[in-house]
């Protein structure tokens, strides 16, 4: 998959697919079968700071519960951590930070929509002013993966991110087809 940079969104090749994360040293063997069934895997930020080895952004628990309770059973979420290691980090700057997600390509649009709906329900009248940091590694059936990082207004999840997913699906070169007119 091609590399691209954009004003608010970056797409880069990645090798960090489901197997990469499930085989981490901090995942016990007893948890792996459960994680292998997932098509959406929330993963921790590693080595955020000395003394803070594995963290999820604040609100990850609520998002995970939301995904598990979705009426759409095609999304099978899991979280790449065992219970006793789970920690949330509240940075308290006015961005919604979504945990990094590893997602099967076919589920990616649904996942992005679910995240948007989750934030919309949380933020109520502040949605328009809310900015989000969103990272997702999209894994295609052939084994290739692309990492999408978006930072900007929540609406961008529905526009920029979904647009990038469409381009990934078409195998289009990102360097020459940036949606907002930029070309890098």
């Amino acid at each position: 998959m091609a590399d691209s940079t954009n004003e608010d969104i970056q797409v880069t090749d990645s090798t960090e697919d489901f197997e990469f994360w499930i085989n981490k040293s901090y995942i016990p063997e007893t948890l792996k079968p459960q994680l292998l069934l997932a098509n959406v895997l929330l993963v921790p930020r590693e080595d955020y700071r000395e003394g803070v080895p594995l963290v999820f952004p604040v609100g990850t628990g609520e998002l995970f519960a939301y995904l598990r309770e979705l009426g759409d059973k095609s999304i099978k979420p899991e979280i790449c951590i065992q219970e006793e290691d789970y920690r949330e980090l509240a940075l308290h700057f006015d961005f919604v930070v979504i945990p990094i997600a590893i997602v099967r390509y076919l589920l990616a649009p649904l996942f992005v929509r679910a995240v948007y709906d989750f934030i919309k329900h949380q933020k109520g009248n502040k949605l328009q002013k809310t900015k989000v940091i969103f990272e997702m590694t999209v894994v295609k059936d052939g084994g290739t993966a692309a990492h999408i990082r978006y930072e900007g207004p929540v609406e961008g999840l529905q526009t920029l991110v979904q647009s990038k997913l469409n381009l990934l699906g078409q195998g289009t070169s990102e360097a020459t087809s940036a949606p907002n007119g930029d070309s890098k």
């Binding site: 700071r49 003394g51 803070v52 963290v55 604040v58 628990g61 609520e62 995970f64 519960a65 939301y66 598990r68 309770e69 979280i79 951590i81 219970e83 789970y86 920690r87 949330e88 980090l89 509240a90 940075l91 308290h92 700057f93 006015d94 961005f95 329900h121 949380q122 933020k123 109520g124 009248n125 502040k126």
Partner: protein
Amino acid sequence: MTVDEIRTTLLGVASNHDSRDNGLISSSLKTLKEDAVGRNDQPAAKDIWCLETTLAVQNKYLAAFAELRAGKFYEGWCSLERVEINLQHLSVHLPYLANEYQLGFIDSHSRKFQSLFPYKIFMSPEILEIEKVCTICRQVVFIRRSCGHRVGEIYNGEMAAREVTKWTIVGTAMVEHPVQKYSVPFLQDPQTHQQVDHYDYSTVRYAVHALASPFDGWDVQWTKIRHPHSRFPGVGRNDPCPCESGMKYKKCCLPESGVLRPHCQFSFDVPPPLGTPTFEYAGRNPLPPHAPSKFITNLVRSS
């Protein structure tokens, strides 16, 4: 009071806020909620929570206005933050597009007041949350075992949240857009170690004293206008320009009609009280010999 009587009272807040009995409203709502919960009427209990939160928003907004009037600016800032937070929670359950209960007005005017404050940098802790409990059932929250109570939803007339019971602070940052707006840094007197409020609240003071009622509408626009060079005595030709461009005065504003400085323009739906200045230079030292005025306010009456 019945639910309908309470609803009517809350709807009329713009005219009755000085005379209504908030204690009676609160105690009535408490009793009504207990009754609803007792018969497991969740929709009714949620409805009462909405009324309770509406009352809280209205009262906190009124408190903020009073605090600003009294010169308690930081306290007013904190009250405005509580208004913002309660409105956010309420808006998920009670859309107020038609400005019902004056909530739309309170929302927009709280933000206008906040925009006048001089606070630009905030202290933001980085908190590692180790254990949390549900505020409804008080059970410890596990990542794969939900207690069933979703954050933000209403159960038995109470909003579910998470209380952090084990945590540690791993860092502190200075940010421009905090979640916790109350985390305003203040100076400390090196001799007495007392907190020193060094901020300039001139525009906030101007606005709040120009309003006869907290429910009189107003608007504000920040622009820049040129002010006479005579207001900047003692600034030499080779000194930094008072407009803070970084250029020398002689290369910047001196050849122009005046110095370009921030200008705050208000418009009021109801004419301010007699005696309110229509034009005012504001700042800690209105006519400092070497420092430029921070900002200037101007009143434009709406026609």
